[in-house]
């Protein structure tokens, strides 16, 4: 699925520079305040700065040497800076991604049509795209860049959308119907269209997305809020631990320096997750953007991880757009080769995908041997519901649906062969479409057309099933055909002969059972269902109404994108969970580093608790806070890339993550602090 995910190095130089500047700007307490964990670290840094100043001026040694205090102040400052950097780099990456999209829509000339009186008169003036407002109408001709998102109100055009989607094949857009929407920044390749602007400048989805990534309008998602509460709770618990410790130490006549208190506190509070939390959230949206999905809110990405049910259109998602001929069934008494020739002949000039597939199935040799000289082509018409060819020798070959051909056959007084009728039924019940062929009103056989299920789609659905997501196929086919394809593709359920309101009802029904439902759609008649669904993904090629109704827009118009979106959502939550676990598990080692260091001067017997055999109390405290600071940048790549999701079932996933991030979180700091201590000991 990652076919077009744009690969950008995690730390691109220009982004790092930008993020570096931003991490200082974010030191502003008014901004820090929104992250309670890191805010307390900033306060700690400030306190230590004051203590350092005091030790310099007062020449008292009760609080340790100025150099020691200064070092701690500096490390704490770095801790805050690292956390800010994590957030800034995530923002910078998201912004860079958004900018590359935005570039396409920078100032372009627009041929705006000005209304005069009540009538539109073709008075066209060239204005800047930024002057276009909602409701304005402009025209675009071959070679023009479309200046703004809008809806075609007149004309048809081929459009190159590669700037947005990366897909080089041009697409056709026309007024009316579901393919009327155009995106700013794309290029008209042929023809001329009249377009009405649908968004105010600065309010397009992309603009909204950029604002989300930049943090200006980023709101915390429900899970993020709950996690922040939990982390704030931990922070408060450790405030209590540290403040009360002062009194215990007084009782035990064990003086503890302010530096030690602040260090203990900073080490115990979950700075790792606290520092990376917003970076993880931004990176989640950024990943969505890299998958060419514009989300209207961070919440939508999160919800995607929770999805229980996904509604997928059959055509284009599960099957390749069109049916293909898969087999020729000649009627009894008809020579197979002759039948195939006849079929190929009747389809040679047929430009429909079905027709092409018949010729393809017949084989190149057959096709070459045939000639359409002087033949009259009969195109498919709604009236006859057949198509075919009338040859110069008077032979009339027709192909069409069973009842249409039967009518012809009956008219000629021929009996419809029973075995052919049986074949027709069999094909239908196997999910195929029978195309009956007649020659001069006499049935010669049946061409079997089958839906071609996309390769690899079954595995995708298996993967979704393992994630706990139910897939539902939506199709206009009859229930028999639908069932066959559903089974073959491995979807869990299907809606056959679906009308738009069926989708809506199905979504409501699932939601009533407490499930979260996603669907993808493009048409205006999908809009209510898109709005009803918990995650509604509108295709970029879809109508404006559809895009407004959904909460995501897929720039690639790829119906299987939902699967990717689910994984992005799950990754987002998982990354938060695992880093929280890691952060909390780290406390075990930090306790064993700092607590003995606090007391061993006054209570030498507690040296036994120094199980890591750290060099001295000062080196132990320094090592612990250095580790605490360094672990933040060390985990930035993980926060940005996200923890890999494997659909192995929730329990197995928990076991795996608990092992890696829980047990790892307990062991890694023991090792890290010891190593840092070995280095620090050299300098003390």
């Amino acid at each position: 699925m990652a076919k077009r995910q744009k690969k950008v190095p995690l730390f691109e130089r220009s982004l790092v520079n930008d993020a570096f500047r931003q991490s200082f700007a974010k030191l502003d307490p008014r901004i820090m305040f929104h992250n309670p964990v890191m805010f307390t670290v900033e306060i700690g840094t400030f306190v230590m700065a004051v203590v350092t100043a005091y030790t310099l001026l007062a020449s008292s040694t009760s609080q340790g040497s100025p150099g020691y205090n200064l070092t701690i102040t500096f490390i704490l400052f770095l801790t805050v800076l690292f956390a800010n950097f994590a957030e800034a780099i995530a923002e910078a990456r998201g912004k860079a991604q958004a900018d590359s999209l935005r570039k396409t829509r920078e100032e372009t000339p627009a041929k705006k049509i000005f209304p005069l009186g009540d009538l539109y008169v073709n008075e066209i003036k060239i204005v800047s795209s930024s002057e276009l407002e909602k409701g304005d109408v402009f025209i675009c001709e071959t070679g023009d860049i479309i200046p703004s998102d809008g809806e075609i109100i007149e004309g048809i055009a081929t459009i190159d959308e590669s700037a947005i989607t990366g897909e080089s094949a041009p697409v056709i857009r026309e007024a009316g119907g579901d393919k009327s929407s155009v995106t700013g920044g794309t290029k008209v390749l042929s023809d001329k269209i009249k377009v009405q602007v649908t968004t105010q400048p600065g309010e397009s989805f992309l603009d909204k997305m950029i604002a989300l990534v930049e943090g200006a309008s980023r709101q915390k998602t429900p899970n993020e809020i709950a996690l922040t509460i939990l982390l704030a709770g931990f922070t408060l618990i450790f405030i209590i631990v540290c403040v009360t410790l002062k009194f215990y130490a007084d009782y035990a006549n064990t003086p503890i320096t302010i530096a030690a208190f602040v260090s203990l506190f900073v080490c115990l509070i979950p700075t790792t997750i606290g520092g990376l939390l917003s970076a993880i959230g931004i990176a989640g949206m950024d990943r969505a953007l890299r998958a060419n999905v514009i989300t209207k809110s961070g919440k939508a990405v999160e919800t995607a991880g929770d999805l229980d049910t996904i509604l997928l259109d059959k055509t284009g998602t599960i099957t390749i757009g069109n049916r293909k001929a898969t087999k020729f069934h000649a009627a009894t008494g008809i020579h197979e080769d002759d039948f195939i020739k006849a079929c190929a002949l009747s389809s040679l000039a047929d430009e429909t995908p079905e027709g092409k597939s018949i010729v393809e199935l017949a084989g190149k040799d057959v096709a070459k041997s045939l000639s359409l000289k002087d033949a009259v082509l009969i195109k498919f018409s709604a009236e006859t519901r057949t198509s075919g060819v009338s040859l110069p020798d008077g032979k009339q070959i027709r192909k069409g649906a069973y009842d249409a051909i039967k009518k012809i056959s009956d008219k000629e007084g021929n009996i419809f062969p029973a075995e052919t009728e049986k074949i027709v039924r069999d094909i239908s019940s196997n999910g195929g479409t029978p195309l009956v062929v007649s020659e001069n009103g006499k049935v010669t056989g049946v061409i079997e057309l089958q839906d071609i299920i996309k390769t690899g789609i079954r595995e995708r659905f298996d993967r979704l099933r393992k994630m706990g997501v139910k897939t539902v196929m939506v199709t206009g086919d009859n229930p028999l055909t639908a069932k066959y394809i559903a089974e073959k593709a491995g979807v869990d359920d299907f809606i056959a002969e679906a009308k738009p309101e069926d989708k809506m009802n199905y979504i409501r029904q699932e939601q009533h059972a407490g499930k979260l439902v996603a669907m993808m759609g493009d048409g205006t008649n999908d809009a209510p269902a898109l709005a009803q669904a918990d995650v509604g993904v509108a295709m970029n090629s879809g109508t404006q109404a559809a895009k407004e109704a959904g909460n995501m827009v897929d720039l690639d118009n790829d119906p299987t994108k939902l699967i990717e979106i689910v994984e992005i959502g799950k990754q987002l939550l998982m990354t938060r969970g695992t880093l929280t676990t890691f952060s909390i598990a780290n406390d075990v080692a930090k306790y064993f580093a700092i607590v003995p260091a606090l007391f061993i001067v006054s209570i030498p017997v507690l040296q036994s608790l120094n199980i890591m055999h750290l060099h001295s109390p000062e080196s132990a405290i320094l090592s612990a806070i250095i580790f605490n600071a360094l672990i933040i940048p060390a985990l930035i790549p993980l926060a940005l890339k996200g923890v890999a999701y494997k659909p192995i079932g929730a329990s197995a996933l928990l076991r795996r993550n608990l092992f890696i991030y829980g047990l790892g979180g307990i062991l890694v700091p023991f090792l890290g602090i010891k190593l840092i201590d070995l280095v620090v000991a050299i300098f003390i």
Partner: protein
């Protein structure tokens, strides 16, 4: 020696074996199914409700239940104060003991009301038969039933449906009394009396010993009180020495029965949850986590106590029976060590040996048992405390599997986290803050006559007192001179907060969750009845609760241990 270890193992196994069917019975009682005692008690209950003007079948939401709970608790508090302040002239006072001072009465009333039974008085001199029965024993019954009724509301809220109708508090309360606590109490009382526990209204007897000394022997209707003292995990004993007293615990058999009695309902509640929700695997998971925690505490304790006090061993004597200071011959070291952890993991707080004289790390394990307060936990409230840990563990591990956390089909969101965090914070604040306050006062004025032991051990005595109060446990490092206005009043406030918020918090979470949409399970749903999730809860308990006391414990028992 083997027979002593064997006795302990038997006690544990026997409790588990009894708790499973009893849990099934409790589940039936709360589900309103037919049970064997219906013919006897149904009419009595109806009479109770009719006379009180209560509609026992009216469904309440969680807020209504909590209001009812708090109101009736307030009534009991006032009643208890009234009795204790006037016990001197009230009847049934053959020993002519005086009324309690206001601060002592406040502490005692609160302490019994909240199922803690911290006793800053001594039963022989500080209470009368009237206050023992009408105040203490009464509160033994009703405070236990309060906790159980709260647990029943929790059970009801955890069912798979969306509702705010969570049963009737009064109904659960009365059912807990009549169907569970009362019948068991009568049975246990008979066993006790057969084994020589006194049941008399006569006052002190004066005897002459063989050596010719004149000694007064306190007695009383002990056998009525001691069964409910244990069944309700109350722990407030008749005599000062609690269940170490030969009249309150005459022999090894009564010792076994007392231990099984205090353990039975907390354990059965876990199984009852499984039967009630038809999620037996969940119950076994909870049982597994609790038992692991319990064993991690009790086994080291038994080993350390059996090993004895190294300072005394240095005198060169026979240390065969372990650390015998504060322990009784008829129970022996293993059963005493086992009891000391059992009484602290569940919130009984009765003792058959003196915790103050335990080895330092044994004392630490007793503290940890109360700090966690959810390895089994008190009568009904244990499961409420554990519920908070489940919520936090579900939240973290739910995120870890990439899904908005949900427990039993209900999404856990910011509001629930807020309450869970507040409850966790509260216990940290009460224990650590209370101890800090005491340390501050003592540091300012070391002449305060509080501590029976100096140094590290003295610190542990203060820490133990607040820990015991917050956990509503009631056991103590009794060396602490705690009948002073400071201790009486400060601990009373800790007791109130440590009781009602940890009841209201979980019930509020459960009530809010019950009202949420039920989400059916899927392959992506985190299973909460697995070993992995059990490990997760255990880790959350250890890291969040136990480890946060590490600095404090380092200054108390750990420092004392290393200085030995």
């Amino acid at each position: 020696m083997n027979s002593e270890i064997f006795g302990v193992i038997f006690m544990f196994m026997a409790t588990v074996v009894l708790a499973i069917p009893f849990g099934k019975y409790i589940a039936k009682v709360y589900a309103g199914d037919k049970t064997i005692l219906d013919p006897v008690f149904n009419p009595i209950e109806k009479f109770f409700f009719r006379v009180s003007g209560i509609n026992g079948t009216k469904e309440m939401n969680w807020k209504q239940s909590m209001v009812a709970l708090l109101t009736i608790n307030l009534v009991w508090f006032l009643l208890a104060m009234l009795i204790l302040l006037n016990q001197g002239w009230l009847p049934l006072n053959p020993d002519h003991n005086p009324s309690q001072t206001p601060d002592l009465a406040f502490n005692t009333a609160v302490s019994f009301l909240v199922n803690c039974n911290l006793q800053d008085y001594s039963g022989e001199t500080g209470a009368t038969y009237f206050s023992q029965l009408f105040c203490f024993m009464f509160l033994h019954f009703v405070s236990a039933a309060t906790g159980m009724a709260a647990a029943a509301i929790l059970f009801n809220a955890m069912r798979e449906r969306t509702t705010d109708q969570l049963g009737n508090f009064y109904n659960y309360f009365i059912k807990s009394l009549t169907r569970i606590l009362l019948p068991l109490s009568v049975v246990v009382a008979i066993i006790f009396m057969l084994n020589g526990m006194p049941m008399t209204f006569e006052g002190k007897d004066t005897i002459q010993t063989m050596q010719g000394d004149t000694v007064q022997v306190s007695r009383g209707p002990v056998a009525a009180m001691i069964p409910i003292k244990h069944l309700g995990t109350n722990g407030g004993g008749w005599f000062g020495a609690n269940s170490a007293h030969p009249f309150e615990n005459p022999n090894y058999l009564t010792n076994m029965v007392e231990m099984i009695a205090q353990f039975l309902i907390p354990l059965a509640m876990v199984f009852a949850l499984g039967f009630y929700l038809k999620r037996k695997k969940l119950a076994w998971m909870i049982f597994g986590v609790m038992t692991t925690g319990f064993l991690c505490l009790v086994i080291p304790n038994m080993i350390m106590e059996q090993h004895g006090n190294p300072e005394i061993a240095r005198m060169g004597i026979d240390m065969g029976s372990g650390a015998m200071e504060g322990k009784e011959i008829r129970f022996g070291t293993p059963a005493s060590a086992y009891w000391s952890i059992l009484t602290t993991v569940i919130s009984t707080g009765s003792v058959n040996s003196m915790h103050d004289s335990f080895m330092p790390l044994s004392g630490m394990n007793q503290l940890l048992a109360m700090m966690v307060n959810a390895f089994y936990g008190g009568c009904g409230v244990g499961i409420l405390n554990f519920y908070i840990f489940i919520i936090i563990a579900v939240f973290i591990s739910g995120l870890m599997v990439g899904r908005t956390p949900e427990f039993l089909g209900k999404k856990i969101e910011a509001r629930e986290m807020k309450i869970a965090v507040m409850v966790t914070l509260l216990s940290a604040l009460l224990i650590k803050g209370g101890t800090a306050l005491a340390c501050y006062l003592f540091h300012r004025d070391p002449s305060l006559p509080w501590l029976n032991n100096t140094g590290f051990h003295g610190f542990t005595e203060m820490l133990y007192q607040f820990t015991s109060c917050n956990a509503n446990n009631g056991s103590g490092f009794e060396g602490l001179g705690d009948n002073t206005p400071f201790w009486n009043i400060s601990t009373a406030f800790v007791l109130i907060l440590g009781r009602y918020l940890p009841i209201i918090g979980p019930i509020a979470i459960a009530g809010i969750l019950a009202n949420k949409k039920y989400i059916p399970e899927s392959a992506g749903t985190l299973k909460t009845d697995t070993l992995t999730f059990g490990i997760m809860i255990f880790a959350v308990i250890i890291i969040l609760t136990a480890l946060s006391y590490f600095p404090a414990l380092a200054l108390g028992p750990i420092a004392e241990y290393f200085s030995m």
